[in-house]
């Protein structure tokens, strides 16, 4: 068995059991975010379970993808409380903010969510959509840019594993563009986007 890649420094990297939710509207690529994070997690030699809302409800309205990462085999596969909530729509933020732990992370797209719910958790409001368009010219790369930001701000998975995961999951021919978006997200500075907790 090869050595696990070194974790990026960050708060979530040190937790033995991490529960993550990506929430947004259908078409924003929220499910893919969860799957990529889960693939990156397995590359970090962590135990991982990824679940999601399925079927018609995933196509219309809201969409969510959950990932549990742990250092030991995972028994209960679903979310019992959130360490990290990534919201790309106002509805997702409203719906799931209540499940966030006090020491959790709340990262949201400030282009979509103008009045985020008040909470104790570490909050980061980042204009993912705008940054994605600036970086790649394509709104479709918003989810990958946001993933980069999530990894950079929380260290939930290692950068090396995340890059490999992105490359293995995005459509052929878009690798370069998505890597650019990912790196842009990774380069974001926490102090620049952190919101005061309430």
């Amino acid at each position: 068995m090869s050595e696990a890649p070194a974790m990026t420094d960050g708060l979530l990297s040190s937790r033995p059991y991490v529960e993550v939710r990506f929430g947004g509207s259908g078409g924003q690529g929220v499910i893919l975010m969860g799957v990529i994070l889960a693939v990156a997690g397995t590359r970090d030699r962590r135990h991982v379970v990824q679940t999601q809302s399925y079927g018609p409800e995933a196509r219309g309205g809201y969409s969510r993808s959950d990932v549990v990462l742990a250092n030991a085999p995972i028994d209960y596969p679903q979310i019992q409380g959130l360490d990290l909530l990534v919201a790309l729509s106002a509805e997702a933020a409203r719906k799931y903010a209540g499940s966030l732990r006090r020491d959790g992370f709340f990262i949201f797209d400030s282009d979509e969510i103008t009045s985020p719910p008040p909470m104790d958790a570490n909050s980061y409001g980042i204009p993912f959509t705008r940054l994605a368009v600036e970086t790649t010219g394509r709104t479709q790369t918003t989810n990958i840019l946001a993933l980069g930001a999530v990894a950079g701000l929380t260290g939930v998975v290692s950068v090396a594993s995340l890059e490999k995961a992105v490359l293995s999951m995005v459509p052929k021919g878009t690798e370069e563009m998505n890597l650019n978006a990912l790196r842009r997200g990774l380069a974001l500075l926490p102090e620049e986007w952190k919101r005061p907790s309430i």
Partner: protein, 392 residues
Amino acid sequence: MELWYTHLMRETIDQDSLLVQGNRACALGALDAGVRFFAGYPITPSSEIMEVMARELPAVGGVFMQMEDEIASICACIGASLTGEISMTATSGPGFSLMQEAIGYAIMAEAPTVIVNVMRMGPSTGRPTTPSQGDVMQARWGTHGDHPAIVLAASNVADMYRLTIAAVRFAQRFRMPVIVLADEIVGHMRESFSPEIAGRYRLTSGDFDFTETYIHPEMVREVHPPHELGTLIHPHVTGLIHDETGFPTNDPKKSEQFLRELHDKVVHHRGELCLYDVKNVGKGRVAVVAYGSCARSARAALKLAEQEGIPVEVLHLYTLFPLPVEIIQELARRVEFILIPELNLGQYAREVRRLAENWTTVVSMGRIDGNLITPRDIVDRLAELVGKYESA
């Protein structure tokens, strides 16, 4: 490389570890177990099994058929099985209902095949993308007549792989259909699945010869020889009650003897068929018996309950039928009560109660709102009940 896990290993070529969907793991298990004929019909939440088979089976020279409905699917599987092929189909509740008549045929005609039912909420169309364990008794008693059943229940992605292999093995060995129950959560979740896990399962299944249809020497008296259409034996296969010649009989004595044989071959080999896992064995004041997704909740609850001072034993059943009679009765002798969390209104709890009520109290904990039972739910219920019942 061993034949039986080549497909899993192929998935891991560029990775040390693997993230695999439950339904995909089921298909990989089938391929590694030697399934070379799959016929199915699309239905949520099992369709991915069929999609993987459609892509992978031709590569190993197997036959994939998308049939016109689930009835045709299982009938095609039985047809292929009668020629000696190892066959499988996968479906969900509504399709499983359609298959019931043919499942009875496969039992009567002693045609091995595997039916995977990724359970969804019902009855009827219900909630197709929602997990449930509502088909447990249908898996046992869905087809008409007095018949035996082998039913396995998968709780995670690794189970989807290895229990599918076990199902193929049991089907071939006992010459009857074997049902694998999963639920929407297990079918659709992606979970890390490392080669070490595959290696571990190899230890439990390494002695299977999946490529060969065989009858264990001890079983000759109980299991009819395999049908071999297209050989010199060119048998007659029928769903009518038949005697050792394969032809129908109305003789009361022979009829009873035949039906008893069908049952006995399962019941007499309960020890081999009942796959289970007990956590905290002998150390619990109370017990939780669970299977499928709920077994995961129960395992998580065990740790939580310990922290809160409730010693619990968890019996995780991988084989639901034949009933693990001895295992449940032993457990019943040593605990105050048995709690059974299920995503139905107590289907399996009724069976456990029947077996355990002489020694202990059996409490059903059903949930039918489409959500899983959480570890917290289980611990809260245990806390409510602890001390209420006398130990045997």
